[in-house]
């Protein structure tokens, strides 16, 4: 909560503005720095590559935002990405139909989401354990469906989703942009979105005010399962195969993107701009470290250091400037 002094009105205004911009500002700083000091960073090719590299994290972080805003999180995303890709691949190969395959992949995501939502919201088991369990189960299911190895996809029509370009940008990037727009609207302009924030802010208050808490929570997890599956299907299309081993630990990437952007794990905060900032910062750091050809062991140090620097800067920028 901002402690607004009154003596210095203009000052306060600037700092409020800075505070609103939050991590986007940090990203901007990072971006400018990289543009100046990292060769090729600003090239169109690199921008397209960078945007493609963060497209999956971008998609999944949007729905992860819903989970976190409601005061929870979902650990099963990485496994769902992998399993849905495998399911899509296997079904496409079996039926020859791309559409049926995609639907099957998305269906898996919805089912896992339903299980998560039901066990968590209806049976009242905490989300951590619930999604930890389904994370294991979805991973195992993916391996079993795929028979333990990558499933190459025979029908190349499927690769349109992942490998084509539109107006100079890869299709997955467009999908991610659309996702940002949809989720931004969802959170700010629908009752569902506001209910999520209310639940995250004070679940008891939401329940007493007649917010359908259980239904909202189930819906959150279903949406998140669906989005993870979308990401998984897009990934399978990009890689031209379903990979049961992929995206291990991706839950951490998605959660980190949100939290780094400024979403509180305690719930109640849900700004899509935060997520965008978080995803962009993480992606830019990885991209630049590789462009700079930093030794992989030192990359760990740099990654950790920048993460810390970013949040500390964000925390103190209002003080020092305002």
């Amino acid at each position: 909560m901002a402690v607004g002094g009154t003596s210095s009105f203009r000052k306060v205004d600037t700092s409020v503005l800075l505070d609103r911009a939050g991590m986007l500002l940090v990203f901007l700083g990072l971006f400018v720095t990289c543009s100046i000091f990292v060769d090729n960073f600003l090239s169109w090719r690199n921008m397209a590559g960078l945007s493609l590299a963060i497209s999956m994290a971008g998609m999944v972080s949007c729905s992860m935002l819903l989970c976190i805003a409601s005061g929870n999180f979902d650990l099963s995303v990485g496994s769902v990405i992998a399993a849905s890709g495998c399911v899509a691949a296997v079904v496409i190969n079996l039926t020859g139909s791309v559409v049926v395959g995609i639907l099957a992949g998305l269906g898996l995501g919805v089912v896992v989401g339903l299980i998560n939502g039901f066990v968590f919201a209806k049976l009242g088991i905490n989300a951590f354990i619930t999604t930890l369990a389904t994370m294991q189960m979805a991973r195992g299911f993916g391996y079993i469906v795929a028979g333990g190895k990558a499933v190459g996809i025979s029908n190349s029509d499927f690769f349109v989703i992942g490998t084509t370009y539109f107006l100079g940008l890869p299709t997955p990037v467009w999908l991610t942009l659309v996702t940002f727009a949809i989720f931004g609207g969802l959170i700010n302009y629908t009752e569902f979105g506001r209910n999520i924030l209310a639940i995250g802010g004070n679940e008891e208050a939401a329940r007493l005010a007649g917010v359908p808490v259980v239904r909202t929570k189930i819906l959150i997890f279903v949406i998140h399962g669906l989005m993870s599956a979308v990401a998984g299907v897009v990934l399978a299309s990009r890689m031209t195969s379903g990979q049961p081993m992929t995206a291990i630990g991706f839950e951490m990437t998605a959660i980190s993107a949100c939290v780094l952007g400024g979403v509180s794990l305690a719930g109640g905060i849900g700004k899509i701009s935060y997520v965008i900032a978080g995803v962009l910062i993480l992606g830019t750091v990885e991209n630049s470290m590789n462009l700079l050809n930093i030794n992989p062991f030192y990359q760990y140090l740099v990654r950790g250091g920048i993460l810390l620097a970013a949040v500390i800067f964000d925390r103190y920028k209002t003080r020092s400037i305002g």
Partner: protein
């Protein structure tokens, strides 16, 4: 509607919690177009009954009848839909959302499936107009003072247009002006034919607005007075407590010592100008003001809970370092918050733990280890002296009734040795019987030479207990008056905006 068939009827309601029978075979009815007071000691079962009415709890046995038909609500969304609105004893708000969104939580206005913000703010302004027109519906709710939040909660209940409204101690953190506004709203609701339940520990209010009174004791319905004619506070108190209570405040002159604590030119958030205040040892200084006047902030600034932007604290004439609550406590200053839910209780902790958490450092432990013997003894003593109703010392504090939680928090601060006590609405939610005990306790502290600064929104209380009275208005001190040369009118006029 004939008076023979009440609009709202509780029939043989019982409710038990592990180890506690909160309601025991309670039956009574309330007519529409009337205001029914529910009174009883702390822990008598009033809040539990209201929660059964709204579907938060399901009764262990018994039924609820509304307009003649039986209802069994499975949750608040059902009761809300059936036209029942309850204002709960503890604030239940979403601090990060705006006031407007809090007001319409669960039924936001929509246009083509999307939230209609212009309409929302319009509706919110209208909802606040008769209660708290100084609140901007766009501000995040968490920035409001407790009293303002309470007014918002009341407005929230009204947005539902409910047939039945229940108020659980709505005035415990409101001051006279806000109470007046609330009463005129209740008056209007009654005249519109709604059914109103009203829980309060302030007897004078009951006579002011209620048509009839139901008395509870130990979870049982003791008696319903269908009219307040011929009823007196003394009778009511006697029925509640089982004995007579004379001279609630029992004020007597005391000798003061030197200045014990002085706050000099304090500035900080919530204050509009620097404030200086002194309390002598053995003195009780009351601090009055309207909701949002900045009293809480002043106390927190003195205590070191909020960072001061200027000014200093002097103890016995010497500048003292009071930067954190821990500094304060180590120098004998304690502070009891008005906001027991957010700033008082450790909800999952036991009664014993909640009592000892602060004082153990000065009594209980050796080399970092807890002295269980002292802790038990102290907890037992405190529970006895404040008459805390709890099944055991191990009970989680969040399972106690509101008033009993308040007593536990008071017990926490009475467990330690102190020279300065900062009380923020110390009797909030405490029943009449226990209240006179607490006044006696405060008096005894003062007699021992403790300096007491007590915020209260209850004007009779301020006048009844304090030696001097400081009044705040809109973030500034508007004056300090002696007990002997003041009156309710004078104090109110100092508190009201100019």
């Amino acid at each position: 509607m004939g008076s023979s068939s009440p609009y709202l009827e509780f029939v043989r309601i019982s409710k038990s919690f592990p180890g506690v029978l909160a309601l025991d075979d309670v039956s009574f009815g309330v007519n529409s177009g009337s205001v029914r007071a529910l009174v009883g000691e702390n822990g008598a079962g009033k809040s539990t009954l209201l929660k059964i009415l709204s579907g938060v709890y399901r009764p262990s046995s018994g039924v609820l009848r509304i307009d003649g038909s039986e209802r069994a609500f499975q949750g608040t969304s059902e009761s809300l839909a059936a036209g029942v609105s309850v204002i709960y004893q503890e604030l239940v708000t979403v601090p990060k959302l705006s006031v407007a969104e809090n007001l319409f939580l669960g039924h936001l206005p929509k246009k083509r499936g999307l939230v209609d913000y212009p309409c929302l703010y319009e509706l919110a302004r209208a909802a606040l107009v008769s209660l708290a027109d100084d609140i901007d519906p766009r501000t995040p709710l968490g920035l409001l003072s407790i009293g303002q939040q309470q007014m918002m909660e009341i407005a929230k209940a009204l947005t539902r247009g409910a047939r039945i409204l229940a108020f659980d101690e709505p005035t415990s953190s409101l001051s006279a002006r806000e109470i007046e506004r609330l009463f005129s709203v209740i008056e209007r609701l009654r005249s519109e034919g709604r059914t109103i339940l009203y829980v309060s520990h302030r007897m004078e209010e009951i006579f002011q607005i209620c048509d009839s009174v139901t008395v509870f004791k130990d979870g049982r319905h003791i008696e319903t007075f269908h009219s307040t004619k011929g009823l007196t506070q003394d009778i009511l108190i006697n029925r509640m407590v089982g004995r007579d209570i004379k001279n609630v405040y029992n004020y007597s002159e005391r000798p003061y010592g030197d200045v014990s604590i002085e706050a000099r030119d304090i500035t900080g958030p919530g204050l509009k100008e620097p404030i200086s205040i002194r309390v002598r040892s053995g003195e009780i200084l009351g601090l009055f003001g309207l909701v949002g006047a900045g009293r809480t902030e002043l106390l927190k600034l003195i205590y070191g809970a909020t960072r001061r932007t200027g000014g200093e604290i002097l103890l016995k004439g010497h500048p003292a370092k009071v930067e954190t609550p821990r500094d304060a406590i180590d120098q004998g200053i304690v502070f009891c918050s008005e906001n027991r839910k957010a700033e008082g209780i450790i909800p999952l902790g036991s009664v014993q733990e909640n009592i000892n958490i602060s004082a153990r450092r000065h009594h209980g432990y050796r080399m970092g280890f807890i002295n269980e013997t002292w802790e038990r003894r102290n907890a037992k003593e405190q529970v006895r002296s404040l008459d805390v109703r709890t099944p055991s010392l191990e009970q989680r504090i969040c399972n106690l009734s509101g008033g009993n939680q308040q007593k536990v928090i008071l017990a926490r601060w009475l467990s330690d040795q102190m020279s300065v006590v900062l009380f923020d609405e110390p009797t909030r939610g405490i029943d009449v019987g226990a209240r006179s005990e607490i006044y006696a306790l405060i008096r005894r502290l003062a007699e021992r030479g403790v300096a007491i600064l007590m915020v209260s929104s209850d004007l009779p209380e301020v006048l009844g207990v304090s030696d001097r009275i400081a009044v705040m208005r809109d973030g500034a001190l508007s004056g300090i008056v002696e007990r002997t040369d003041t009156s309710e009118q004078k104090i109110l006029s100092m508190a009201l905006p100019v």
